[in-house]
Amino acid sequence: MSTPTWVPRRRRGAELVLTVMAVGISVFGYIAVGLGVSGTIPSDTYTLIGGLVLAAIGAHLAVRQFAPYADPVLLPLVLCLNGLGLVMIHRLDLGRQALDPDRSAFAGSQVMWTFVGIVAFTAVLLIVRDHRRLQAFTYTFGLTAIVLLILPLLPVIGHEQNGARIWIHLGPFSFQPGEAAKICLAIFFAGYLVVKRDVLALAGKRLLGIDLPRGRDLGPILLGWLISVGILVFQRDLGSSLLFFGLFVVVLFVATERPGWLVVGSLLFAFGAWFGYVAFGHVRVRFDAWLDPFADPDRNMQIVSAMFGLAHGGIIGRGWGQGSPELTPFSFSDFILASLGEELGLTGLMAVLLIYGLIVERGLRIALTCRDGFGKLLAIGLTMSFAIQVFIVAGGVTRLIPLTGLTAPFLAQGGSSIVMNWAIIALLLRISDQTRRPAPPTSSVGSDEQTQVVKL
C-alpha cells in the first residue's frame, strides 16, 4: 500500500461545529421536556445541560489532543445519541415518577456514567497510542473475555436480574461484564485470525459455487459457537449469544475472504436457534410474541405497549413530554427506541436510525482504509458488532425480528453499556487517526512494525 495521495487534514474545526449542533439538539430537547411535562423549565435541567456540555467539551479536547487526525464525524454522532438518550431518560424519570413516586430516577446516574464513559474514552486514546500494540496481547484479551463471561455465573458476585444472569455485584456497584467482553473478544478475534487467516482460507469441498472450509479447520468456529450456546444456556441471554457469534463469523469471513464461513456460521446459527426454541421456554415465549403479540396481549404486554406507542406517535410524534412512553416496562433501557419513536415520531426514529447507520458507515470506512490487517479486523469487528447490536435491538422493539435483551448503544440507560461503547468509539478513532495521519517523513518507527503492514 502506498502513501495516500490526498493531503491529510485534521478537520477538528468541522468536528467542533458538528459537536455544537449535536449538543444543541439535546439542550433544546431538555427545554422541550420541561415545557412539555410541566410548562416550565425546571431548575435541575440546567445541571443536566451543564453535564452534557462538559462531557462534549471533554471528549472534543481529548480527540484534539490524542487523535488529531481521527474521523471528524463519529464523535458528534455519538454525542448526539448520548444526549438524546439523557434527555429521554430524564423525561421518562418524570413520567414514571408521575405514575409512582417511589420509582428511582436514572437521569442523574446516567450523566455520571456518561462522564465515566468520556474518561474511559480519553483513557483509551491516551493509553493505546497505536492500536497495533494491542495485537501483542491477543491471548490476554481472549482469556479476559472468558473470565468476564464466567463472572456472572459465579456465586456471591453473580446476580440474576429479569431472568438473565448477566450481572455482577461488587459492593455498591453492579456491572454487566458482557459489554467489556465484547471488546476483548473483538481484539482477540482480530489478533488470532490475522495470524491464522491463511490456514483457515484453504478451501475444502465446493458446494453450489461456494468453497466450504476444510473439516479440520472447523475447530475455532465450533468453539465460538459453543461459547455462544453456553451464554444462551447458562446466562439465558439470547441477544449477547447472537451478538458474539455474529461477531466471530463476520471477522472470520473478512479474514479468510471465504463466504463458506458465512454458510457454516448460518447453519450453526440456525441449529442453535432451533435448539433454543425447543429447549427453552423463554426463547419460545419471545418467538411466539414476535409472530403474534396479540394472541396473548397480557403476557406480551411490553411489545404490545411499544407498538401502541409507536403507532400513537405516528409520523411527527407526540412531542417531548406529550406521549406516554412510561407505560412500557423498561422504556428507559431496552425499549428506549420505542420511547423515542413515540415522542419524536417516525421522523425522529428514522433520524436516530440514520445516526446509527452513519456511525456504522464511518466504522466500515475506517476498516476499508486501514492499512494493517489487525486494524482492519478490529475495526470491522467493532463496527459489525455495533451494527448487529443496533439491528437486534431496533428490530426487536419494532417487531422486525423476535425480541432479545440488548441495549441500544449510547441511548439506553445502563452504566456498563455506555462506558464500553465510548471505549469502542475511542478504539475506532484511534485506528482512524492512525490511518489518516500523514506518513512520517523518515522511518521513525521500528522496522519490525513496518513488516506488520501486511497485504490488503
Binding site: 406516554s324 417516525l346 476499508l368 422486525l400
Partner: protein, 489 residues
C-alpha cells in the same frame, strides 16, 4: 480483505433499510389498526381527554361529553341511559367501547380521515380537537312506547322490541330489557367502574345483551309467514286455496304427531289458507312445509334476510332456519321447522324485517340506525341512503300475505294489536322452548296496510308471575300497537 468488507457494507445497508422500512410500516401503515385496538391505553387516554362528539336522537343527545376538572377533562354522559343503552353502548376507560360508541368511534373521537382538515385547523389554531356527531334514525316516542310496554309487563321481564320503516329500513325503535346504565361504566371512578362491570357481567339476565339484534330464539308461529310466503310462491296457492286442517298432523310410518295449540281442529279439514293463518294452524303449516320442501323453505327465509348480517354498526346475530351442522331434515323435523320450531332461531329485528317486507310489496330494505354523520361544525359528512337487501317475493304474493295478516288482526289471534281507524296487519307467535320453562311470546305486525310506515316485532322472552297464559297476542300485541301508534301519531 476489502472485498468482504464491501460485502458487509451492503449487508449493513440492507439491515438499516429493513429497519427504516419496518418503522414506516409500523408507524404509518399499521398505525390506524393499532390505534383502534381494544386496550390501547394511550388512545383511550387521549380520547378520554377529548371533546367526544354526541350521539343524537331527533336532535337530543343520548350520549354527550361534558367538561370536568379531573385529569381527563371530559366526562361521557348518557342522559336517558337505560332507554338507549343497547344502542349507544358504553365508553369505558377500562373496558373500551361497545355498540355505536365503538363502531362510530372514528367520527365521535374525531380521528376519522374525513375530519383530517378539521384536525389540521385545530392543530394550527392551538385548539383541542373535537369529535363529530352521529344522528340516529330512532323515533324517541316509539322508543319510549316500546320500553314502557315491556316495563309494564312487570319486574324481571326479559324481552325486546324492534321497529323499522318498511319502505326505507330506518330503525325506529330498538329496545332490550333488562337494560343497564352505561354511565356507571363511563365513570372516572375506576373502582366503581370495575364493580359495575362485575355486577353486569355476572348478572344471569345478561343486561348488556342487545336482545333485539343479538338474541336468536325460535320465532314460533310468526315464522308461518315465511312458510306461507314459500307456499304462495312455490305451490301457486291463493289465500282461498284449501289446505290441510284438522287436529293433528300424522307422518307415515312414525308415531310422532304434530298437534295444534290447545288441541283445536283449526275449524275443519280442509280449510282455507287465510283461515289457517288466522287461527295459526300448526297442522296446515307443518304440511305446507313438507309440500314446499326444505330447500325452498330455507331459500325463502334467506330472501327475507336469514343467514345474513345487513346491519352496520351494531352487533348482529344471524338468524337461521336449520342448525349449522344439520344434514337434511326428516319430515317431522321439517313440519316443526315450518311452524318456527326445531332449529329455527331469529332475532326480533329479523322478524320485523319479515313483516316489513310483506308490507313493502315484497322488497326487503337493509335496516340502518345511523342517519347522518356530522363534523364538529355541523357540516354533513355522510348521509345514509336507503338501500334494498333484495326482493323476498313477488309483489302479488306480498299483497296476498298482507291481506291475510290484516285478517289476523281483524278477526284472528292478532286482535290486541288493532288500532281503530287504521288497517293493521299482524301475526302472533308462541314458541315452545324447553319443557321446564314457559314459552316465548312473539308478535310481528305493520301499519297502515295501504302505506306502511312501521313494521314491528315484539319478543317477550320471559315474565315473572303467571305463566299459564302466555301468548304472543296477549303479551306482544299491545306493545306492538303502542309502538305503531307512536310512529303514526
Amino acid at each position: 480483505m476489502n472485498k468482504p468488507i464491501r460485502l458487509l457494507s451492503i449487508a449493513c445497508l440492507l439491515m438499516f433499510a429493513a429497519l427504516l422500512v419496518n418503522a414506516n410500516v409500523l408507524q404509518v401503515v399499521q398505525a390506524d389498526d393499532l390505534n383502534s385496538r381494544q386496550g390501547n391505553k394511550r388512545v383511550i387516554d387521549e380520547e378520554f381527554s377529548r371533546e367526544r362528539g354526541a350521539i343524537l336522537v331527533d336532535g337530543t343527545p343520548i350520549a354527550e361529553s361534558v367538561p370536568t376538572d379531573d385529569r381527563w377533562k371530559f366526562q361521557r354522559q348518557y342522559p336517558e341511559a337505560a332507554l338507549y343503552a343497547p344502542i349507544t353502548g358504553y365508553f369505558s376507560y377500562i373496558y373500551g367501547q361497545s355498540a355505536l360508541e365503538r363502531s362510530q368511534n372514528s367520527i365521535l373521537s374525531g380521528s376519522d380521515n374525513r375530519l383530517f382538515v378539521n384536525r389540521v385547523v385545530d392543530l394550527l389554531g392551538n385548539q383541542e380537537p373535537q369529535g363529530g356527531s352521529v344522528e340516529l334514525t330512532l323515533d324517541p316516542v316509539a322508543q319510549r312506547a316500546a320500553a314502557e310496554g315491556l316495563r309494564d309487563l312487570g319486574e324481571g321481564t326479559r324481552g325486546a322490541v324492534a321497529a323499522i320503516n318498511p319502505q326505507t329500513g330506518e330503525i325506529l325503535a330498538m329496545v332490550s330489557q333488562p337494560t343497564y346504565d352505561p354511565n356507571a361504566l363511563a365513570s372516572h371512578d375506576l373502582s366503581a367502574t370495575e364493580a359495575a362491570w362485575d355486577q353486569l357481567t355476572n348478572d344471569p339476565n345478561q343486561p348488556m345483551l342487545n336482545r333485539s339484534t343479538q338474541l336468536t330464539l325460535p320465532p314460533g308461529s310468526t315464522f308461518k309467514l315465511v312458510t306461507a310466503a314459500a307456499a304462495l310462491e312455490n305451490l301457486n296457492l291463493t289465500p282461498d286455496s284449501q289446505v290441510k286442517g284438522g287436529t293433528e298432523l300424522t307422518f307415515p310410518g312414525k308415531q310422532y304427531t304434530l298437534p295444534n295449540q290447545g288441541g283445536s281442529n283449526c275449524g275443519g279439514d280442509p280449510i282455507s289458507l287465510r283461515q289457517a293463518l288466522e287461527v295459526s294452524c300448526n297442522v296446515s303449516f307443518g304440511d305446507l312445509a313438507n309440500q314446499v320442501g326444505e330447500e325452498a323453505l330455507v331459500q325463502q327465509a334467506e330472501r327475507f334476510g336469514f343467514g345474513a348480517d345487513p346491519l352496520d354498526g351494531l352487533a348482529f346475530e344471524k338468524s337461521r332456519v336449520v342448525g349449522a351442522e344439520s344434514e337434511g331434515l326428516e319430515d317431522t323435523q321439517l313440519a316443526q321447522t315450518g311452524i318456527g320450531q326445531y332449529e329455527v332461531a331469529a332475532t326480533p329485528l329479523q322478524m320485523a324485517m319479515v313483516a316489513g317486507a310483506i308490507a313493502n310489496n315484497g322488497v326487503v330494505m337493509n335496516p340502518y340506525i345511523v342517519d347522518t354523520l356530522r363534523a364538529p361544525n355541523l357540516e354533513v359528512l355522510e348521509q345514509t341512503e336507503p338501500s334494498e337487501f333484495g326482493e323476498a317475493m313477488r309483489p302479488e304474493t306480498a299483497g296476498m300475505l298482507k291481506d291475510m295478516m290484516v285478517s289476523v288482526v281483524d278477526s284472528g289471534t292478532g286482535s290486541p294489536a288493532a288500532i281503530p281507524g287504521v288497517q293493521v296487519g299482524g301475526k302472533t307467535g308462541t314458541a315452545e322452548s324447553a319443557a321446564d320453562r314457559p314459552p316465548y311470546a312473539w308478535f310481528v305486525g305493520f301499519a297502515p296496510a295501504n302505506d306502511p310506515q312501521v313494521a314491528v316485532a315484539v319478543l317477550v322472552e320471559s315474565v315473572n308471575g303467571d305463566t299459564s297464559d302466555i301468548g304472543g297476542g296477549r303479551l306482544g300485541g299491545p306493545i306492538a300497537r303502542s309502538v305503531m301508534e307512536a310512529v303514526l301519531r
